[in-house]
Symmetry: D2
Subunit: 298 residues, 4 copies
């Protein structure tokens, strides 16, 4: 079927390619990409046959909101917009309400699979009314892996909600693997850590795609020497913790994973200085002076 995609970044570009590969007609627009098929949103809307399907792959927040507002004035009743970016599930409700006033359908769609999705397929979780999801189903099915991996998770917001929880789990799993890796590295018992991890890919309880990726990374750089210890986080990890708080669900592993990333970016965090200060006060404990104060010998 025909689809217009707005946003041709790493994810959008790869998805456009997978959709084309599976027989769909894709019209891509992006402000800057040389791969775009049209040079304006207006042209995109004009070239799509009714009822139109427009797929957004823009940064969450303002860029997505602005595009939705603009499209609400260009599209016609019966058209459907798929928000395939990383909107917070709570924003989806507002988006859908605003578009419904124009008779335009809205499907929120969480997509997982990273740079591997183009080849292996993307896991696709969507939310929205049945009639809207039905209209875009051929696209969703083509994005998903052959063995399936497509889920209409519930009403508007459910797609991004499911994706958010997925990412929360991902944070916790990654943190678990990372802690285990450091334990092995720190121990005097295991001389060749990459070898142990590689052997875990078969038969173990922890076999998983994340383990495969960790093994792959170690094959390329056995001591991960090229990487620093500063780890970024994204909206979904934070929103999962916010939801845990809202719903009174204890989520210590996910939260530990998020906090470990926060701490990784603040080697001289105020809280650590506060600990050092209290220790110095009560015990006369030797503490580490700020780097600027250290002399030649450190």
């Amino acid at each position: 079927m025909q689809v217009g995609i707005i946003g041709l970044g790493r994810m959008g570009g790869n998805m456009a390619a997978r959709l084309r590969d599976t027989g769909h007609e894709v019209l891509g627009y992006s402000r800057t990409s040389p791969d775009r098929d049209v040079t304006s949103v207006e042209e995109l809307v004009e070239k799509l046959a009714s009822p139109r399907v427009v797929w957004l792959m823009l940064p969450a927040g303002d860029p997505t909101r602005q595009a939705l507002r603009r499209l609400s004035g260009l599209l016609s009743p019966g058209d459907v917009i798929v928000e395939g970016g990383n909107s917070r599930f709570s924003d989806d409700t507002e988006h859908a309400r605003m578009l419904a006033e124009h008779g335009i359908g809205y499907v929120d769609c969480g997509v997982s699979g990273g740079v591997w999705g183009r080849e292996n397929g993307y896991a696709v979780m969507c939310g929205g009314e049945d009639e809207h999801v039905r209209k875009v189903r051929p696209l969703l099915q083509s994005l998903a892996p052959e063995e399936d991996g497509l889920c209409h998770a519930g009403p508007v917001g459910a797609g991004h909600y499911a994706k958010m929880v997925h990412n929360g789990i991902e944070y916790g799993m990654m943190q678990s693997l990372a802690e285990g890796y450091e334990l092995l590295e720190a121990s005097e018992y295991v001389p060749d850590v990459p070898k142990v991890l590689a052997s875990w890919r078969h038969g173990t309880v922890v076999r998983s795609w994340l383990l495969d990726l960790q093994v792959r990374a170690l094959e390329a750089d056995p001591e991960l020497a090229a990487l620093s210890g500063r780890v970024d986080d994204s909206g979904e990890g934070r929103w999962t913790v916010e939801e845990a708080v809202r719903l009174a669900v204890s989520a210590p592993a996910m939260t530990a994973a998020l906090f470990a990333r926060f701490a990784s970016r603040k080697p001289d965090a105020a809280q650590l200085k506060a600990l050092a200060a209290m220790r110095q006060q009560f015990g006369g404990h030797a503490v580490h002076a700020a780097t600027a104060a250290t002399d030649g010998k450190g």
Copy 2:
């Protein structure tokens, strides 16, 4: 090759079966199992041809220690014992030293794969000197899955060490999945949680064997109604945290997983009563009376 197995419980019995299926000659002994091939350890040792290989699958701690001591008096120089149970890695060093005095080799072997291992193969992590591991390698290879999954992790202790860390990661991954499951269950966005989890098996970042098992459990009992919330833990989970402490490795996700299990078994834990007591003291906060003490007014 020929091997004597002591301990024919769920794990030992299945492993014996897999070894037989792959062409090895297995002599099994257990104090109580009707499947045993010999009726005493002495008979087992007598029937094995030199150099002998004896594989222990007994509970860790005293049962394993006693069996090792007894075997040290029965076996001959050049024989090898494989400790395939769940000994703490730190015990392996003592075991090996004691056996070395008798000229007997020692290989510690962590085995993962649960009840599925008989069919799919077990992940096998072993520790010990090269010459001892070489002697038992055909057994290890037959236990492992066809695609491999066998790892000589290092010197004596390394096998159980690797297995211990594996289990620590397993705890953290399980906790992450469990938290995500509860979030989805608690949310108003996702009406059919098992459907969402099932869809995650393909294309997602969290695809893993543990997810597969969780999906399988939900297929059999969509609300997990048959299970209580009391979750046991085993030695490896605890030892991993002890190691994190010893090695000064921050391991919040693994530890959160262990503590969640501890807490699950103590609904009226002293620490919770202490919290309630302090709240009552400072704020006159309404607190929940102990169940036995509740009357009509609650």
Copy 3:
């Protein structure tokens, strides 16, 4: 000075009493309290001399919002409202903006001290413009302990913000004390735990008001037998974690405290059943059946 207080619950009533004791003229209103001095908000406003000061002590959220809206139509330019309840700091900005349109000042005020505050004084953290805080300062000073404990923390919102963080710290400190208490109770080394805690009140690093309260609770009920292990939480504890997430501050101790309370109220939480389910699937581990399925012996 003269002040009208709306809300005469446990906190409001005690604060009114302390203000009267320190020489202020207090007019109290509450829909239901027999101690009220006036029978309507209109009467309260009428009886106060200009420029008026009205102190709100209502539940956060709708009740406070409604009262503010109503007062905005009754008060005059130059009057000041103190929001002494537990509003989220982020609501204060809206409150202040709305009242500013009517020329009415707004001071947000976090109050700590529980039922002991009437006698010992309340810690008072306030936020707002200097001119508004100045007008109500005599009241704040009378509420605070003699040794001080009054803080103009910053612009509108800062009072509730400081109080929120205070409560987050309180959660973490309580959890720490509670964990220590359970460790002592669980250990075979310490036969008389209340005696140990009592001795800590002097000379230790952990001496604190919360420890004093814990000791007091144990004096009244040495095994805390009258209390259940279900512990409630309040808005401030949750908001602190939300703020930690928003500001990318690692806050594991505070969050652990909040999650421990969440978990205390869900003995058969979905996440625990999920753990049990996975264990059963991979290992054939014995798991605990749901209570309903247990027979007489449990």
Copy 4:
């Protein structure tokens, strides 16, 4: 009464001074201190009148063990040794057994109060048999603050056990205060954080000695600019977590505090590199290159 003190470091020296100030006769020995009264352990033992009391203030582990062994050959039946250092509670049992063979009593004694103890008194928690504790009680009482703070916590080991749990609580409380401090520092609401903390000393729920110390530290250095974020830990914090694991007590706040210190000392920890590596693998996420590897392009 008369006492010999071995070890005149910061703690031992201050305690000797407080004991002298309160009327006791103190003979101090240290290998290196110019303040020592005797030049050998033999001389110390010789100069003490029977029955002797010797107080050890040496580093835990080997130094303490060696001193005990040496003293066991020099002292006489009826003498008592107080181990006032930081021995692990589990070592105390061995120490006491060894000394009992020589008829020498053993009291383990946890001492809290830091550099402030000389003036304010030390909290003193001791373990041992009644008859041994009775013999040294005058010393304990003089060390403790006037308002008390002395506790015979139980049999041998109980003193160090109580002190260990005390320190675990201390870790959790410090972490809670430190997290709150960083939240206030990070927030746009509170311009003068030291002022807020100072106001909390009176009337709040979090008033405590640790808060006082934090306020004191901020008075001296309002931005804690002289301190780095590397925070050391000591045996007691680790042992508390080990005990939580042994006794199956959930202790997330104490453990979070310990792990935060571990992480503070490893800005490029292996676990963080592992997280970065997995992110790079699955998502093509931009990651931070190791510092050494960064060039012009960053």
